[in-house]
């Protein structure tokens, strides 16, 4: 029945929640933290809509002299679990889409890091697979941590400690996979093939920044393009079988891209800033 998207309901309920008194706000924040942490496996729009309905009712109850505890009851977790039990789960399509986005972002990060290595471009599929899989598990663990501590009183310190440990574990795993676990199969892309691949990706990213209408996407795209350009230039400087004219040609293209990225990056930032200022 949702007539708006999840962002609309999120903004709307946050606006109303900000007007609640401290006690009711605290109660509602715990409830919303718990439901939001479940939004990875449940329909996000339905949950946001539910939070919007709940906060509207709570606001009216507050106006009529009730507290969140007298209105919703002493067991918000039981209510939240009851709501979740009857909420539509995330569709398989959305779940795969989310997994796809995580894998693409993480793979892009590994790829950009790889570009900084001297020598021909190396793709290590096992490392990509391990890091991507662990990233998905890591994100799921973060959501579980938030869900677990949502109703625990004064749990902020324990929660931050748990998140800190998780982040440490993630970095440790990343370093272990990158430097200690044998890569197994390695695809080596020698020049000019690596340069061509980097160039094609770069052009793709830049076209995306020009086509997209979202300022955030545009700035992220430009940042990625910038990192690829900077890291990609290391492939040109290594002492490999690459002709001088290719080096000069490639560096010139990278230089042009760099100027383009900086100019447009500044342009978009200024434009965005003025939009916000208005």
């Amino acid at each position: 029945m949702a007539t708006h998207n999840s962002d609309f309901y999120r903004e709307a309920y946050q606006k109303i929640a900000a007007q609640l008194n401290t006690e009711n706000r605290q109660y509602f924040d715990q409830l919303s933290d718990y439901l939001i942490s479940a939004s990875i496996t449940y329909d996000e729009t339905a949950l946001m809509h539910q939070l919007y309905d709940l906060v509207q009712d709570l606001q009216q109850a507050e106006t009529n002299g009730e507290t969140a505890e007298t209105y919703f009851g002493h067991d918000p977790k039981a209510m939240a679990d009851g709501i979740l039990a009857n909420t539509k789960p995330t569709s398989k399509r959305d779940l795969w889409q989310l997994l796809g986005i995580i894998v693409i972002i993480m793979s892009a990060f590994i790829f950009i890091n790889t570009l900084a290595d001297a020598g021909p471009l190396k793709i290590e599929p096992l490392h990509y697979l391990l890091i991507d899989t662990f990233t998905v598990v890591f994100i799921w663990l973060i959501f579980q941590t938030f869900k677990h501590f949502a109703f625990v009183k004064k749990a902020h310190i324990i929660q931050y400690f748990a998140l800190f440990c998780l982040a440490g574990l993630y970095i440790l795993f990343y370093l272990l996979v990158t430097y200690k676990i044998p890569a197994g199969i390695v695809w080596v892309l020698r020049p000019p093939l690596d340069l061509i691949i980097i160039g094609v990706i770069l052009i793709g990213v830049i076209i995306f920044t020009l086509v997209t209408k979202s300022t955030t996407n545009r700035l992220v795209g430009l940042l990625i393009a910038f990192l690829i350009t900077i890291n990609g230039s290391s492939s040109v400087f290594y002492d490999g079988p690459i002709a001088t004219y290719l080096r000069i040609g490639y560096l010139s293209i990278l230089g042009l891209f760099l100027i383009f990225e900086i100019v447009f990056g500044v342009h978009f930032l200024v434009q965005h800033y003025f939009k916000q200022a208005k």
């Binding site: 009851g73 918000p76 209510m79 039990a85 009857n86």
Partner: protein, 112 residues
């Protein structure tokens, strides 16, 4: 009243209130409290509303509210109307049976 017993009865009562007129969560709880469910809280009602909506017995619609922004009003569906008929029949049967047992128990108590 026992919580489990209350929940079973409450589903039918909620459907009956919604059948009278489309209503939103807060107003529904106030109405049920006026009918005597004084200690009723949202924590009991909202999961039931969610369940009834999921089962297609009620449906939600965003409507203009006199109190301010659009609110979700629940209205009864054909499936919900069927459930109400079943609830009323079961409730009448239950009260008849329980009344009989109470009467027999009272008579038995009087003779002792």
């Amino acid at each position: 009243m026992n919580t489990q017993l209350l929940k079973g009865v409450l589903e039918g009562c909620i459907l009956l209130v919604i059948q009278q007129e489309p209503i939103y969560g807060y107003a529904l709880i106030q109405k049920l409290r006026q009918f005597g469910f004084e200690s009723l809280v949202g924590g009991t009602v909202y999961p039931i509303l969610q369940k009834l909506e999921k089962n297609g017995q009620i449906q939600g619609e965003m409507r203009k509210s006199p109190e301010g922004p659009d609110r979700k009003y629940f209205e009864i569906t054909e499936v919900g109307k069927g459930t109400i008929q079943q609830f009323i029949a079961e409730w009448q049967q239950l009260t008849t049976n329980v009344t009989k047992i109470i009467k027999v128990a009272n008579d038995h108590g009087d003779t002792q």
